[in-house]
């Protein structure tokens, strides 16, 4: 992880965060980790897939934004072509960390906001202020804090969701093939909901998935993959 320091109203009093959308500002990524709580908004714009975290091998939920490293097809002439931007992007350059190393299970009170000062959004005059002249958090910072809390709780709910899907063997590997300039390329490492397996679940399993709202999430994810065509179109326009 890049260097993150504890956010401090004295040290960081005069910093600005540039929230313009641009590759140089860190938006140049082709997949973005998301939490299940965001699905309702994000499936309107993004194809959503499961991918494995290379450090842990565990499945996580992602919005796909491009096909090659650094390619974010949603970025277009200085704007982000979507109604909603994933929390993971919006909260940059902040994240949550532990204040100290607690001896017991850490609670929300042990969490503190950290800032990555090397992030390209951090600067001395453009964008949003973090603290007002009195040293109080700005509305912007308060909104970010809320987003960070949503992410940290959402992550737990998301991994519970994925664990349940795996128990029911509802994920399957998918391969995307696309032809660009006459050359065929395949993208592996993506996993989607196995629609056939979902359709064959017994009534008990369906009921338990429904009660957790997982069933709804599954169908949203299935529908979201249709956005791949939009991404392909955007790519062919490049």
């Amino acid at each position: 992880m890049t260097n993150a320091t504890l956010l401090d109203k004295n040290t960081h009093a005069n910093l600005y965060i540039n929230n313009a959308r641009a590759g140089e500002l860190g938006d140049n990524i082709n997949y973005i980790p998301i939490v299940a709580d965001e699905l309702k908004q994000l499936v309107l714009d993004y194809p959503v897939y499961f991918m494995k975290n290379p450090q842990t091998g565990q499945f996580e939920l992602y919005a796909l934004t491009g096909f090659t490293a650094g390619e974010n097809l949603f970025l277009h002439q200085g704007s982000w072509r979507a109604q909603h931007i994933p929390l993971h992007i919006k909260r940059e350059p902040f994240k949550l960390g532990l204040r100290d190393t607690p001896e017991t299970q850490p609670s929300d009170n042990d969490l503190a906001v950290l800032i990555n000062q090397e992030h390209p959004r951090v600067n001395a005059n453009i964008g949003e202020r973090i603290f007002d002249p009195q040293g109080e958090p700005t509305a912007y910072l308060n909104a970010v804090c809320e987003q960070l809390m949503m992410l940290i709780h959402g992550n737990k709910r998301t991994s519970a969701f994925i664990t349940t899907l795996l128990e029911h063997e509802l994920l399957e590997a998918v391969q995307l093939s696309l032809t660009q300039h006459g050359e065929k390329q395949t993208y592996t490492g993506l996993y989607a909901i196995n629609e056939q397996a979902l359709a064959q679940l017994d009534i008990q399993a369906l009921k338990s998935l429904h009660e957790m709202s997982y069933l709804q999430a599954c169908y949203m994810i299935i529908a979201s993959t249709g956005h791949i065509q939009k991404l392909l179109n955007w790519k062919s326009e490049l």
Partner: protein
């Protein structure tokens, strides 16, 4: 005679016994309802030999079919990944003499374009060989770098490169036992066999046990080890020695700790030839298993021990600290493996030597044969038995030939052992015929009698060309399109190799990650 076969009794609780039980039980459970019973009888006071710390890639399918979680198996049986074997000093005693027998197929294997290109470019080479394996597949390089055959994101039992396992045979037997009893409904009886009781037809009717019970069965599987309690002792099926072809008859094994927990774990078996045998060196997670397999007709146990400790760089004063386990065996196999209602699997069927890790493979394919072709009743059993014997006699003979190939191609003349191995009278006619053919033809799978060979043609290529054997392929010349194809394949291989070396984690790192996170099913 026409009663349905219902009860299978396995005698012996070593790796062979539990692996056979697991394979047969998993197959029957998947295909049938529960109108049969599998019982394994094991004595509490017989030590298992625990040969075979190396497996074949087939073990992945075997374990998966049994419903085993790969990460659990890896974590509980001290398992590491095996991507082949490195043979050092088999060809000559020169310092850098080695070749790999990797588990991956050569690139574009079907028409042997790469092998032909390699042979053409090496005809005038002053060097005896320049690493055939490295020219045709990426695995030579993966092994040289101690890399794993997969990443943490690769699904269980899948590989980026083909792989098998190294394992602790004792832990493996225990692991299989738990799985068989708890998941596969195998009945476990701990008792010694006092007597084997036959019926009037000579079939085994029952076993009298030392817990005052008698156990009846329709089919008996003899996994009693070298003792061959049922097939050898009771049914008097003879033994066919092959010590005139393969000379090794003894092994000395030690456990060697790692220097520290950062020492690289090899992802291949290292086999280093000695004056009268060879030393295996297998890296497990927590220790190395090292042993010297040798011919007692050529060197004494003391000499063999000295060579083993020299290999390990253990100074004479510290040698007494090591617990050296000695195993003696007669290389060979039973004249037949299935007789009456009894079939032998594992050491009771035979044992050649640890080279190429064929012992566990034979257990797997024997048990699979039984599971898939289980005779419905006693009446048809003799037909199945005859087929089993025909198939496995062929397989043992093929294995003997293949093992012999490793020795007889050597240019070593430094001891009687190697000289005798290269002497024509010690080489089976079948192998001599193969070699005559291969002097002008690159081995391909059509050269063999069975569609499913124990060792595929690719394995023969790796050993032949690793040992400096030459096939004169150019008597018709190479077609320009074949040359072009070979160039493309060679370029692809160089590219694939660089990519994989860059992408794959090292063996030790991956094993540590698997311990923490497990492996996904997909």
């Amino acid at each position: 005679m026409n009663d349905t076969l219902k009860s299978i009794v396995i005698v012996g609780g070593g790796t062979a016994g539990w692996l056979s039980a697991g394979i047969i039980a998993a197959y029957l459970q998947k295909h049938h309802s529960l109108n049969y019973k599998i019982t394994l009888v094991e004595s509490s006071d017989i030590a298992t030999v625990g040969v075979g710390e190396g497996t074949w890639p087939t073990m992945r399918r075997t374990l998966q079919n049994m419903g085993v979680d790969e990460a659990q198996f890896i974590n509980q049986c001290n398992v590491t990944f095996k991507q082949g074997a490195k043979f050092a000093n088999w060809h000559s005693t020169k310092e850098n003499d080695f070749y790999y027998h990797p588990l991956m197929m050569p690139q574009g294997f079907v028409d042997n374009a790469l092998a032909a290109a390699w042979l053409t470019q090496n005809t005038d080479s002053a060097e005896p060989y320049n690493h055939f394996a490295n020219f045709v597949c990426p695995q030579h390089a993966l092994c040289e770098h101690n890399l794993a055959p997969k990443a943490l994101t690769t699904a269980q039992y899948s590989g980026v490169a083909n792989y098998a396992y190294h394992l602790d045979a004792g832990l493996f037997a225990t692991f299989l036992k738990d799985h068989c009893i708890n998941k596969l409904n195998v009945t476990h009886v701990i008792a010694s066999v006092l007597s084997v009781n036959n019926n009037v037809h000579g079939d085994i009717h029952s076993l009298s046990l030392d817990n005052n019970t008698t156990i009846c069965g329709d089919l008996f599987i003899d996994c009693s080890g070298f003792k061959s309690l049922l097939l050898g002792e009771n049914l008097k099926v003879g033994f066919k020695s092959c010590k005139d072809i393969l000379f090794a008859d003894s092994a000395l094994a030690v456990h060697m700790p790692y220097e520290d927990d950062t020492q690289a774990i090899s992802s291949h078996t290292i086999s280093t030839a000695q004056t009268a045998g060879w030393i295996w060196d297998i890296g497990l997670q927590t220790r190395r298993g090292v042993g010297h397999v040798y011919s007692s007709r050529h060197i004494s146990e003391e000499e063999a021990k000295e060579q083993l400790f020299d290999y390990l760089n253990i100074s004479p004063t510290k040698r007494a600290d090591f617990n050296v386990k000695k195993i003696s065996f007669e290389p060979g196999h039973r004249e037949k493996f299935w007789h009456k209602n009894c079939v032998a699997i594992g050491l009771s069927a035979g044992f050649l030597e640890p080279l190429e890790a064929s012992a566990l493979l034979l257990v797997e394919i024997s048990a699979n044969f039984i599971a898939e072709q289980l005779p419905a009743n006693r009446q048809v059993m003799d037909i199945t038995a005859a087929r089993f014997n025909r198939t496995f006699n062929y397989r043992w003979q093929r294995i003997i030939d293949f093992l012999k190939l490793h020795y007889m191609l050597s240019e070593r003349t430094d001891s009687l052992f190697w000289q005798q191995h290269c002497a024509e009278q010690s080489i089976p006619q079948s192998l001599q015929d193969d070699l005559a053919l291969w002097r002008t033809h690159i081995p391909n799978d059509n050269h063999f009698d069975y569609s499913v060979e124990v060792f595929p043609a690719a394995s023969y290529q790796y050993v032949l060309y690793g040992m400096g054997f030459k096939t004169a392929t150019t008597h018709y010349g190479n077609h320009p399109s074949a040359i072009k194809k070979a160039q493309n394949l060679a370029t692809k291989n160089t590219k694939d190799t660089a990519e994989l070396v860059n992408k794959l984690p090292d063996n030790r790192t991956l094993l540590k990650q698997i311990k923490q996170y497990g492996l996904q099913k997909i």
